[in-house]
Amino acid sequence: MMHNRSTVFKRWLVEGAIYLLLIILAFIFVYPIFLMIITAFKPTREIFMDPFGLPKVWSLETFVKVWQRAHFNTYFLNSVSVTLVSTVLVLTCSSLAAYALSRYQFRLSSFFYMFFLAGIMIPIRLGILPLFLLMRDLNLLNTHWSLILTYAASGMPMSVFLLTGFFRTIPKDLEYSARIDGCSELQIFYRIMLPLVRPGLATVTIVNFVPWWNDFFFPLLFIQSDHLKTIPLGMTIFFGQFMTDWGMLFAGMVIASVPLLVLYLAMSRQFISGLTAGALKG
């Protein structure tokens, strides 16, 4: 017999050791987040006295304070609307462009495809100074449009790249039969093609949505008015004001993180495949 007792035992030992190692490492990755969440429920005094224990009373008081007094309700709404409009804009523009590039034969189509692709590896922030002056000249500084246009433009290369790939897999016959049935080109696009690339649209949404929700580089430079700030930027200001009130700081961080954490836990498979999609195909 190959599998005598000692080899079976050895294998169990190895498997057990691997599990232990993975659990310890996973603990390092998750515990700080866990600590952030439980700390947000504690009063500042308790945070200092007993940093690791569970809160004695699970109180939502700090959250309410942060939400109302520190304007997190406004920041939150701003983040939602900026991210949402940017996503809709990039989905519309990139799906139309990708459709044109993958389904129509015309001169320059491969040129335009490469033109979009050229931006895939170049971080837009290297052009921040000209972009800043452009926004100023267009009177868009200190408006949400400065963020929306920047995000949507910088999201184009990856989105066009991903969606072109999806559109190319659709058989030509579908298009021909729709044309024979008398559909206009626009109808073919949104009635037949768009529903077929739904997985692609989901990927594009995740690829773009996550970094935009989390971004604070562009808001830091473009937005001055408090009532227009997004959550990550609002938090930076907030940290300057309440540096000693740790209860409020932790509550602020939790409010900023919870939407994406919940989304991630609810649909981690889509998140993971979306966020790693770009890296694999490049």
């Binding site: 599990y19 600590l35 519309t92 139309l96 290297l126 100074l129 000209p130 206009s184």
Partner: protein, 306 residues
């Protein structure tokens, strides 16, 4: 007639909105940055053509040159440590995760969790955790009997940069793990079986079969890591301020550029130097472009087929 022409050339209208958006708000700023760097600037007003003067200032004139080389060194250290971590620990974990075992799905989900946090949250969270007086990190060290290790991690020039790098790795590592894992899963099982039939042991299979096949994925992730680290700004800005405290020991190209372009808020002083800042941005672009170009070439050359 008009409508038939319209139907035939409708792709133009499909292409146009995205093209305009991309050209105006991405291509134009990126390409005109070069122009910006070739002029002298007075505040936000463009002055005379000055050739490569701004580049000379950055590379040769104090204090810019000192700050530039200092920041470049920090970015390089930042990249090397991150690269080593992800290609050893990250790859190792990815290999482990390719084996189907109970509970691995959940563990993998946990490793990726910090990646969904904003850099601002990551920075502030660790700033509080690493606080020398009240932070949970030093308290945890004392709790497990390593109290003599407790120190102001972010306040000393010797430890600050490494601490920031480790905080970044904490957020980042889930990404390479998952990409490596996907790359590993793309390798056909036949190769492994064939090697095992030929009598190769586990390590030999990994070294001579798996590793060469997954090399393009490792290379791609390395390039992405490099690009990302040579443009990053947030973590240092949030944790150590725009001048990379203490004493510029955590200053990186991103913060150096930010200070030069938009003024140094910490000293409340100087206004932005657009020409010089643009020269810094162009230098950053050249570094990133050169490394990604040669990196991609290298990957294409090293691709193996069995």
């Amino acid at each position: 007639m008009v409508s038939r022409w319209f139907q035939k050339h409708i792709y133009v209208f499909f292409l146009l909105p995205g093209l305009v958006l991309y050209a105006v708000f991405m291509v134009y700023p990126l390409t005109s940055a070069l122009g910006f760097s070739l002029f002298s600037w007075d505040g936000l007003v463009r002055g005379a053509f000055s050739g490569l003067d701004n580049f000379r200032t950055v590379l040769r004139q104090a204090p810019y040159n000192i700050r530039f080389w200092n920041a470049l060194k920090h970015n390089t250290v930042f990249f090397i440590i991150t690269f080593v971590l992800q290609s050893t620990l990250g790859l190792f974990l990815a290999v482990l995760f390719t084996r189907q075992r109970k509970g691995y799905g959940l563990l993998q989900t946990l490793f990726f969790m910090p990646y969904t946090l904003s850099m601002a949250v990551v920075g502030f969270l660790w700033l509080l955790l690493l606080n020398p007086t009240w932070g949970a990190f030093n308290k945890a060290l004392r709790l497990v009997g390593l109290g003599h290790w407790a120190q102001p991690w972010l306040g000393q020039t010797e430890t600050a940069l490494y601490t920031v790098i480790m905080v970044n790795a904490w957020r980042w590592l889930g990404f390479p793990i998952l990409v490596f894992k996907a790359g590993l899963q793309g390798i056909s099982e036949e190769f492994h079986e064939a090697a095992r039939v030929d009598g190769a042991n586990g390590w030999q299979v990994f070294r001579y079969i798996t590793l060469p096949l997954v090399m393009p994925t490792i290379g791609m992730v390395t390039i992405l890591t490099f690009i990302w680290i040579f443009n990053t700004f947030e973590l240092v800005f949030v944790m150590q301020g725009s001048s990379g405290n203490p004493y510029y020991s955590t200053d990186i190209l991103g913060t150096f550029f930010y200070r030069t372009a938009f003024g140094d808020s910490t000293t409340g002083g100087e206004p932005g130097q657009i020409g010089i800042a643009s020269a810094i941005a162009i230098l950053m672009f050249l570094i990133v472009a050169a490394v990604s170009y040669f990196g991609v070439r290298l990957i294409q050359h090293s691709e193996v087929e069995y």
